[in-house]
Symmetry: C2
Subunit: 345 residues, 2 copies
């Protein structure tokens, strides 16, 4: 068998010896495939928001120029890896070929999938740009891409619109991790509970903590609190600023008779909420940071500074079965699906 590296280093051109993500350029010649690669007929690029904003600004909002910039990047790098922001996105397409070493996968030629690894490491060739959708950061294309053996993906479900599935898959890691970590009877605090990932986490937290548990959701906005209420979940909603660590502490003390949370999930995309998350949590409890705005040192030194013996986890966007777990929420909770369709899809 002609096996490539599971992580795709066999397609790295420059510099040699690094992984595809940090590489300057990777090989997007698909005339020869390795036996542990999956070839995809690409239909849509879902460009990451930071990257698309940068491209749109550089192109002064001109759709044709946006397309040109994307084509130039791919010509130079063999992947849609924005040289300014460093970020990528994901793609949607149909499986065109599956390497012989991957035939035990639950996947067949013709399946429509979304890749869940970044475009910044995905070998990609674009033959034609069909349409640029500036309002939703998407580009329709004709082209091909490769998924490496380690590359994660999700089959797009038949029972929901593609846009809804993509919105859910975008944040699938957090609810799946929540499902795995919450135990019956737990008190759980979700900071940023009214947001895109927070709402899915609230669903899983309520489900797993059960009737003997307690789930508290914090949102900075009235709209977020309203979404938590509209979800129909047995959540205690709080409105306030999670950067105000003392406020968080006092409110969680009040709502838990001073016992604090077994588990605090941080889902907000603003900095300086580490200390509030730690203070909301009881000794020997767990804080799960999913926010990409988390500062490693603020978390580590924050806990030490107040002498708090908590386990702090770095949110891993991947866990086994994460896309199935997240998509199932849309089937289990019609009210949440309604909120998702009107707000995020």
């Amino acid at each position: 068998m002609n096996l490539g590296c599971p992580y795709g280093t066999h397609r790295v051109i420059n510099p040699k010896g690094v992984f595809p993500q940090p590489a300057q350029s990777i090989d997007n010649d698909f005339s020869t495939l390795y036996d542990n690669e999956i070839l995809i007929d690409v239909e849509v690029l879902n460009i990451d928001s930071a990257s698309f904003t940068q491209i749109k600004t550089q192109a002064e909002g001109d759709s044709e120029k946006i397309g040109q910039i994307i084509l130039e990047t791919i010509t130079q790098r063999g992947k849609q890896h924005n040289p300014v922001t460093g970020s990528g996105g994901m793609l949607i397409g149909k499986v065109k070929a599956i390497g012989s070493a991957l035939h035990n996968r639950d996947l067949k030629v013709g399946d429509r999938i979304a890749t869940l690894v970044s475009l910044s490491l995905t070998p990609l060739r674009i033959d034609k740009i069909l349409a640029v959708h500036k309002d939703i950061d998407q580009v329709e294309v004709q082209g091909e891409a490769i998924l490496f053996e380690s590359g994660i993906y999700a089959k797009l479900p038949a029972d929901m619109p593609q846009k809804l599935a993509l919105a859910v898959l975008d944040v699938a890691g957090a609810p799946a991790q929540t499902a795995k970590i919450v135990k019956p009877g737990d008190t759980v605090v979700v900071i940023g509970g009214g947001g895109k990932s927070g709402l899915l986490c609230l669903h899983e937290a309520c489900k797993r903590a059960g009737v003997t548990g307690k789930v508290i959701g914090i949102s900075h906005s009235k709209a977020g609190v309203q979404r938590m209420r509209d979800s129909g979940l047995p959540v205690i909603p709080l409105q306030g600023d999670a950067r105000d660590a003392l406020w968080v502490l006092k409110e969680i003390e009040r709502l838990t008779e001073g016992k604090l949370a077994d588990l605090t999930l941080n889902m907000v995309n603003i900095p300086h909420t580490e200390l509030g998350s730690i203070l909301a949590t009881k000794n020997k409890g767990t804080v799960y940071f999913f926010s990409m705005a988390t500062s490693f040192t603020a978390a580590a030194l924050g806990a030490e500074g107040i002498g708090k013996d908590v386990t702090m986890l770095v949110g891993n966007g991947y866990t086994e079965g994460h896309s199935e777990i997240a998509l199932a929420i849309m089937r289990e909770n019609p009210r949440l699906r309604e909120i998702y369709e009107s707000t995020y899809a």
Copy 2:
């Protein structure tokens, strides 16, 4: 009882409503004590290395000027919180008074303690600077300081020199966390095993994994590998660059017959070692990041990018009993104590 906030917010002057660490200035008037405060007769300030280097540079190496700069900071802020680096350090002193609310503590007036919370949040008054020791970042002083109820400290042991105890206490969190997380039979990789905290972690990893376990230590330097050998611990030493993620993967695969590590501890203070740490670890294994050079996003996106289902922990410098666990290593392992005395104390 006249109780202050366990976290010391009652002594914050400016801005109101924040914690003592981020505060601009805190109250160092000790004529009235709260019933949950501990008053300390300060003997030595152990200034954090980044801070001392900045002060020394600003003072052009002049000892008297170093003292002046420190006095100015304390006059302005009520704490030794370096306004340039933002960092602090720790102090050594004798307990002078214990608030009535803390009388159940295993502590008495006259005990010599080291504070393990940062000077950047510790109310401090200096009456006189006695000596500046430029080579070891220490300043002998006459003065007083306050420990808040949540402030952690360690009693200095009678059976080892103060310098040795301080060197161990400086990194006490990591070996204590290691002791709590390693299970018999585990395969453990310590990246940065030849360093100050790495060596203590190797001791605990070997002890807890036991004869059915396997402990591998990686150091970038010959000297680090030699220290691992000299420790007498049953460690498999490896020399190489942990930033080379592929090299780490190949070596750990080789040494574990492809099974990889149950637990990887990252103790190196250089950036870009997150991916190597993740690759060294098996699916469903754990990566413990103690390095302050860890990038939260590099860890989170690194695991997702290669589809690795690992639990990633943020190193908490505090865990219950951490100073006792770390100091005990010096008694359990005379060869490690020898290395520590000649290298770090």
